[in-house]
Structures are given as structure tokens and as C-alpha cells.
Amino acid sequence: MASLLLVVGAGSCTQDAAVLRIANGADPAILDPQLATGLADARILSALFEGLTRLDALTLQPIPGLAESWESSRQSRRWVFHLRKEAKWSNGRTITADDILQSWRRLQNPSTGAPYASWLNDAAFTASESTLQIDFPHSAWNFAEQCAWPALAPIPSELREGQVSALAFGAIASGPYRLAFRRLRDRVRLERNPHYWNTTSTQIASIDFFTVESDTTALNLFLAGEVDYSPRVPPLAVSALKAKHPNSFATTPQFATCFLRFQTQDSTLKDPFLRQALSLAIDPIALIQVLGAGCRPASRFVPPDLHDYDASCGLKTKRQTFDPEAALVALKQSNYRPEEAQPLAFLFPSSPRNRILAEFLQDQWRRNLGVEVKLANQEWKTFLTAQRGLEYQISRSSWVGDYLAPETFLDIFQSQNGNNRTGWQSQAFDQLLQLARDATDSQMRLDLLTQAEDLLLQEHIILPLYHDESLELISPRLKGMHQNLRGWIDWSALHFSEASHD
């Protein structure tokens, strides 16, 4: 048996001090920046593929990456980027404007299957030696920020032309690290990229991203000293962590919302009074108590982290509140009679936390309205199919913003958007968003977006439940991690301090 174990052990490496070990989450499907969506994948990809811009880990403002500088004109319809001359791939080849152009063409090509293809919809680009010009038919206010997202980073010609096997994606990289090896379901090992333009600032020699799906396992690995950083913690362990490991635990708001979708074409739920009653019957404070850490109360769909937008909303805001009496009144006005009707159905993706959420909602609706709700959970993909096909009445949903602007949230409820999934089609809403997109004045744009969000909430198409907070464990010896709204890590700023123990 010992020999068998050795065979297995031989493929892995010893832990040394120069390796940063991260309990990353689900196994990435592929390390192709144009195909990834999840935050866990993006974390690895942001270390491998640098875009024209990067984000400042403190302010989340775009700062120079592969591009030295850039400017926008014509209400952000035209963008011009100036490439860094010393920018190289990890094999020593220079990164050219043509590399970027070709990569973006690949992103646009439907056969690539890129989920972020729509970001470059209808965009036209031209490249000279080291400048790149992009023209949009509409305003692209946040394009410099979007350029920091791995999906818009250039990918090397070998990858574009399919010359490397999928497991070797990332071996030729533009970021501070390159792929050393990958063992599926176990880890992705990165090593310092010697040709990175800013390589002198990269201090940690290698990074191990471990596949750890359960957050309790991540916690246990951290406590056993097997990992240095875990971006997730079981919410229930938070109070104990705060008491026993105050130097390791960190939490910060995230640009994300958990909400309920109501299926508005359903014969029962098309009744706005019923949706109103259901919305008013949920006590958000009790919800947060039940779920424990990791969430903050939500009164709107867009998280309250955009100062200009919040200021604009603040003037004429319509807040969701908990009001059981008003909920009962609304229920009376509706056509739904809980005593006679079939129970409603609540659909959610399988997970312990979602199950708790579902049981809480069931309890609230029963207690505050006398409405019976049946719970059904499904595996993630099955759930998505059901939601897309409108085969549900009420379902649990969440959305994470892709850039710091309200559009990343509001866009999904346009009539033709594939992420709408409520059956709600409102011309007024679509028009408001279109007007905001064409707006020339930034305050006007924000006003229009506020109106759109108010409309969404007043019609009770969705019920915002909470905005997420990150719960992270960071070994005290790891320095240079900055908490921010998007979980963005500046890899070159990380380093280990000499001595310190938790």
C-alpha cells in the first residue's frame, strides 16, 4: 500500500514558503479568459491574462496595464489605447496591437461561444503599430474598466489558433504569472512570468489554486495551515472566527444582489397584488439573522455602492419595506385565496444555504400571510433550464455586477435579454434604458436609470433580498491583500511577511 500511496504522492509537490496556497472554489472549466464567467475562474485568469487596463485594488479605478495610456471621446463612443512597448508574452514575444485585435475578433465570433461577446457587439476596431481605436455605436461609459476583465485581455496566437491543448491554456500568458501545471479537480499551479513588463514587482514565486468546493472544507484547510487564503467562509463560523482568529478574518461588501424572480406570465403570479403581498411579507432583518454573516439588507436591486447613482436615487426613492399589515391588505386585493388555492411553488438551486433561505421564506409567508409555499430544489443546470423556460412561480436568483455601473444590473430585465427569465416585458423599461444609453449627460443618464429601477420594483417583478458581503480568511503572514467590492486582487502587491503567526 505504501508504494501505491507514493505513486500518487509523487505527482505533487512539497509545500514551501514561496508558494501562496489558495482554496479557490469550483474547478475552472477551462482557463480561456474569453470563456470563463465565475469569480473563482476570474481570480486565476486575472493573474494570467492582463488586459489593456488593470484595476486599482483600493479604488477599483482602471490603471495602466498593457496599455500605457488611453483616452475617450464623443461621449465615450470612441476609445484610443496606447500599448506599452515593453509588453511581452511569457515566451518573450512582444504583445502587439494585432494580438488584441485578433483576440477581440475571436471573442466576437459566435463559434467561440464567449459569454461576454455582447460587450463588443457592433464595435469596430482599427489598429496601428501600437495604438488601438475602438468605435461603439453607443456610449460605452465603462469600457476602460471592462478592459481589465480577463474576457477582454489579449490571448496568444497559439491559443487563438488552437495549437495548445486545453489543459495548457495559460502557459503563454501576459500577466504577472504563467501556468506551471494543472491537475483537474486538484489544483492550478502558477509560476512567476519572467517576461511580465512589471515583473520586478511580483514577489511571490508560485501560487497554488486548489479546487475546494465546500466552504467548510476551505475553512478546515485554512485552520490546518494547508492554505493561506480562502475567499469563502461558512457564514455560521464567522462569529467564532472573529473571536478566535481576528487577524485572519476579513469581510467587505460585494457588488452583488440576491433576489427573487416572480414568473409574471404564470396564471397566479401575474396578479401584481399577490406579488406585492409576497414582497411585503418578508422581514429582511430576520432573514439576515437566519443567514448569518455574508449579507447586508437590500432595499433595491442595484447595490448601494455607487455614490453618484445612490445620490440620484436618494431623492425620490421607493424602498421595499417589511409591512405584514400592508401585505395582508394587498393579499385581500388580489385574486388569490390561500384557503382555496393550490400552494405556490418556490424553486431554488440545491445548496444548504439556499435551502435555509427557502425554508425561511416558506415560514415567513405562512406566518405573515397564511400562504402555503412548496419548496423544490434542483441541481444548478436543471434549475437554470427551468428558470429560462419560465417553468417556475417564484425562484431564487442572484446577480453579480461586471463593472461598477447600474447598467450591469438593470440591463438584464430588458424584454429581449436572455437573463430576464421573468416573462416581464415592459416597453417603458426598455425605453428608459435605451434613453440612458444614448444620454449625453451623466446626471440625465443616472436619472433615467433610477426611473427604470423604480419601475422594476414597483411592479414587483423581483424582490431584492440582500446584497452579498465577502467573507475571507487571510493568513497573517500574507500581506498586500486589499478588500474591495469586486474581490479584485493585485497579484504583484502580494508578499509574505517574515515572521508572524495567528
Binding site: L4, V8, G9, C13, A29, T217, E379, R388
Partner: protein, 311 residues
């Protein structure tokens, strides 16, 4: 009996290949009865992107055509197709990476089962109704009654949390395999110990052994020359079911201990519509089970004097 000697073996081999084909077809059609596509994600793909993907994986063809294509690739090229989740990665690559982990785990568990189960079973039989027998009876009952994830929970809290001896999860070193291998192997060892005890007791009473005893053969020579050979035949026959049990157990334990084995891949693939990976893993499982059974049968025919007499 007039046929050549290899014919039963060839027949079994034929049956085995036929089984693989049937398993392939059954899983294929079952998996394709799933609703919706494998490329559904929170951020929905645009229709043309999704269409392109479906075409790339031939998922836009009628099911029977897809089946024939899959069968052809399998039979002529030994190709299980690309995984739908791990885009661009072939199922065979995935299995080649993860199967060694599962095999090492399963084989370690089997070794643990044999190393603990057989000697303890023998010991209990020889000390029938004395304390080793009774103690073992209680112990085996307990291990048989504990689901292996319960055993895993107890082991983690004792060896990882309280004693800090072994890591609670992961696959970075050989140390990481100790807990899962024991959690997988011990219930099997309990079954084996019981089986060995019963068959040894029966063997001790059979005429050949009684005769040897009468001739004055005792102790180790009796055990090794007369008892073990007979007593081990049912144990060999048990290898097939044991492999099946270990397989089932590994599905759970690889999740508990976050091991990058086939079981973890398979469960996720089955739950999340990675048709090709789920199918490939099922085929490999069938092959491993079938080969174990064949091997056990061959072993029985070698050791069993009755089987020899027949052929």
C-alpha cells in the same frame, strides 16, 4: 467438456464486451433524456453562440445519429469525445488524470480490507466463542452499521481536528490518502472478516481437514495447507461485490475529502449534464467491475479443487 479449454473464458469475455455495449447505449440514451442543454449558465449565451456550441459538439443532430457517432468513435478510435464541462479536454484525458487517484484509493482500501479482514477472521474462527471472536463480532457489526461518510466524519474530527495528525482534505501528499483509504477499507474489512470466519469454521469441519487433524497436522501447517486454500474461495468470490462496494463508497468519500478522483468527476458530471464524462466514467467503472469479477473467477478456478475437477 469436449470444447477447447479456453472457450468458457472467451464466452465470458464476449459477455463482458456485450455488457459494455449495453451499458454504453443505456447510459447514452438515459443521459440524453435530460432536459435542456449542457451549456446553460447564469449569464445566458446568445442564441447564435449557443447554436454554434451545440453544432461543435454535434448536439444539434438527432439522438440516434449522435449515438452512432459516439459508438463509432468509441469502437474504432477508443475515443470518448470531449467533455462538455471541461471544454476542449477529452474525456479520456480527464479519466487518465483522475482514474489513478481513484484506483490508488480503491486499491489501498482493498489492501486494508485484506490485511485486516482475513487474519482477524481466521483468528476469530480459531478462537471461536472466546474473547477475540466476540470482540470481533461486535467490532464488525459496528463497522458494518456505520455509513462511510459517518466514519469519515468521526475520523476527521479525531485525527484532523483533535489530534492534528492528518490533513482533513486535499490530495497534496500520500498523507492525504490515509484517512479516506481507511474509511473506505474498514467496512469492507469487517465484511471480509465475517466471511473468513464463517468459511474457516465450515472448512474446519470438512472431512479433508478432519482427516488431516486425525493424522496429527495442527497449527500453522494445518492452516496454510488445508484450511486457507478452501476458506479463501468464497473470499475470492467476494472480490466482485467488494469492488462494487468500494466504488460506491468512493463516490462519497472523494467528495468528503476533496480528492481529485473519478468519483468526484462522475457525480458532478451526472448531476450537471456532462454527458460524455458521465458516460465515460460509467464505462470505465463497468470495465473495472467486470475485470475484477473475471479475475476473481479465474482465481477461483485456480484454487478450487472442485472447479478443477470439472474442467
Amino acid at each position: 467438456m469436449t470444447r477447447p479449454k479456453s472457450s468458457p473464458f472467451l464466452r465470458r469475455l464476449g459477455a463482458f464486451l456485450l455488457t459494455l455495449l449495453v451499458v454504453h447505449a443505456a447510459s447514452f440514451f438515459l443521459l440524453h433524456a435530460a432536459r435542456g442543454g449542457p451549456f446553460d449558465a447564469e449569464r445566458q449565451l446568445s442564441p447564435e453562440v449557443e447554436q454554434a456550441l451545440l453544432a461543435q459538439y454535434h448536439l444539434d443532430e438527432p439522438v440516434h445519429q449522435q449515438y452512432l457517432r459516439a459508438l463509432q468513435d468509441l469502437v474504432f478510435h477508443f475515443d470518448l469525445g470531449p467533455s462538455l464541462r471541461y471544454r476542449g479536454t477529452d474525456v479520456s484525458t480527464l479519466l487518465a488524470q483522475s482514474a489513478p487517484v481513484s484506483l490508488a484509493l480503491g486499491a489501498s482500501a482493498l489492501v486494508i480490507a485484506l490485511v485486516f479482514g482475513i487474519p482477524l477472521g481466521l483468528w476469530a474462527a480459531l478462537r471461536r466463542n472466546q474473547w477475540p471472536d466476540r470482540g470481533l463480532g461486535i467490532l464488525t457489526s459496528i463497522f458494518l452499521a456505520l455509513p462511510n461518510f459517518v466514519l469519515a466524519g468521526l475520523a476527521i474530527s479525531l485525527f484532523s481536528f483533535s489530534l492534528g495528525l492528518l490533513p482533513p482534505a486535499g490530495a497534496s501528499s500520500a498523507l492525504h490518502y490515509i484517512l479516506p483509504a481507511f474509511c473506505l477499507g474498514l467496512p469492507c474489512a469487517a465484511q471480509l472478516a465475517r466471511l473468513t470466519r464463517t468459511t474457516t469454521l465450515e472448512t474446519l469441519h470438512c472431512p479433508a481437514v478432519q482427516a488431516a487433524r486425525a493424522r496429527g497436522v495442527h497449527g500453522l501447517p494445518l492452516l496454510s495447507r488445508h484450511v486457507l486454500q478452501r476458506a479463501l474461495i468464497p473470499v475470492l468470490a467476494f472480490l466482485g461485490p467488494a469492488a462494487a462496494g468500494i466504488l460506491t463508497g468512493s463516490l462519497v468519500l472523494e467528495q468528503v475529502f476533496a480528492l481529485p478522483g473519478m468519483g468526484a468527476h462522475f457525480v458532478q458530471a451526472a448531476l450537471n449534464r456532462d454527458y460524455t464524462l458521465a458516460l465515460g466514467a460509467t464505462l470505465l467503472y463497468t470495465a473495472v467491475l467486470g475485470l475484477t469479477t473475471l479475475l476473481a473467477d479465474w482465481g477461483i478456478s485456480r484454487f478450487d479443487p472442485r472447479a478443477e475437477a470439472l474442467s
